[in-house]
Amino acid sequence: MELTDQEITTSREETKKILPQYPGRRGDLIPILQKVQEKLGYVPAPAMEEVAAYLGITPMDVYSVVTFYNQFRLSPPGKRQINVCMGTACHMRGGNIILDSWKRRLKIDVGQVTPDREFSLERVACVGCCTMAPVTVIDGEVHPKVTPTRVDGLLFSFGMKIEKEGGKH
């Protein structure tokens, strides 16, 4: 993904603001990256370079960490983040059917963002609400006992028009 000049400048500047809050030990790497992502929504390459310089490690070292952990994103998320629980309880209660419903309606696969950057779709491990399985977490709000119809209902409430044959306008 190509970043615009504006995006490059912003990510460098925001990262530079975060760095001085940490003493600069290698052990600060993950907390710093979490802060960067909290601010920017993802961890772009220029931010990784800034962090590497600050901690005195190579950008590759930072890239190793960012690509290892599920939490870190390399590209910006959609405006709404749809996280479908794929924990044991949710799976056994049809979590994959719910995931399929989201994929069908949004026309994207897991880990992707819709072309209009409105929605991103992720699978998450148990969010600890197994008793209300299957659950989908949208922007931090847990939606319990989701059905394919409920998926349509939620998308409708977000203002998306649904065509029955699948997909959006």
């Binding site: 950008p59 590759m60 690509t67």
Partner: protein
């Protein structure tokens, strides 16, 4: 303290430096143990390839020789049904995700996989398992080396070699089956600031990183 200890490997008495790892003790005395990831220069073993299993008397399970320090009076066997079976499975697993193309491969005849197959009489072919080709693009951008990630066995020698050269261009990224050797942001070697020293190709035991037909400034001893 640099004492010495005496132990028995495959019925032979061997005296080596205290604290030495079993793998090196054996290899230095002409006893072969299959291995890919072990690195003498590293203090802590990676123990990643899972090929170097041996039996130590008194231990319930086979152990990896690259991570096991020698001890006085230790009795070691490099062959047993269990050990050969573990090494065989690890080997076939590695082959299942290694693009087999020996005839055309630059590493033909110098490849560590071929050596292991020869020593242990393993087939250089995937028989029981599914082939897991990852279909990653080959990087031909550098003037000195070619990188075919589909042949990489993730031993890490190139990463360490690059770091020792002061480069730190190569590293591991991703997790699980997606784990791979790559550069920052997945850029091509040419774009990633590779100095062209060739240390990685010299270090690679298989045909994943190979030198192009040029004289390398750092044509170090091939392992």
């Amino acid at each position: 303290m640099s004492g010495e200890v005496t132990l028995t490997i495959d019925g032979r008495e061997i005296t080596v430096r205290e604290g030495e790892k079993l793998l090196w003790a054996a290899l230095d005395n002409g006893i072969y143990i299959p291995h890919l990831c072990a690195d003498r220069k590293e203090e802590k073993p990676d123990a990643a390839c899972r090929l170097c299993f041996v039996e130590i008397e008194g231990r319930p399970q086979p152990v990896t020789a690259c991570s096991e320090p020698v001890a006085a009076g230790m009795v070691v066997n490099t062959r047993s049904e269990r050990v050969d079976r573990l090494a065989g499975t690890a080997f076939e697993l590695l082959l299942s995700s290694h693009r087999l193309d020996c005839g055309k491969c630059a590493a033909n005849r110098s490849c560590a996989l071929q050596k292991i197959a020869r020593e242990r009489k393993f087939k250089l072919k995937v028989t029981r398992l599914r082939t897991l080709d990852r279909n990653l693009p080959v990087d031909d951008s550098s003037p000195v080396v070619t990188y075919d990630p589909n042949k990489c066995v993730l031993c890490g020698h190139c990463v360490r070699a690059c770091r020792r050269q002061g480069g730190g261009v190569l590293g591991f990224a991703g997790r699980g089956f997606e784990r791979r050797v790559t550069t920052f942001g997945g850029a091509s070697l040419a774009a990633a600031g590779c100095s062209g020293c060739g240390a990685c190709a010299a270090a690679c035991p298989v045909g994943a990183l190979t030198a192009k037909n040029v004289r390398l400034p750092n044509a170090g001893a091939k392992r």
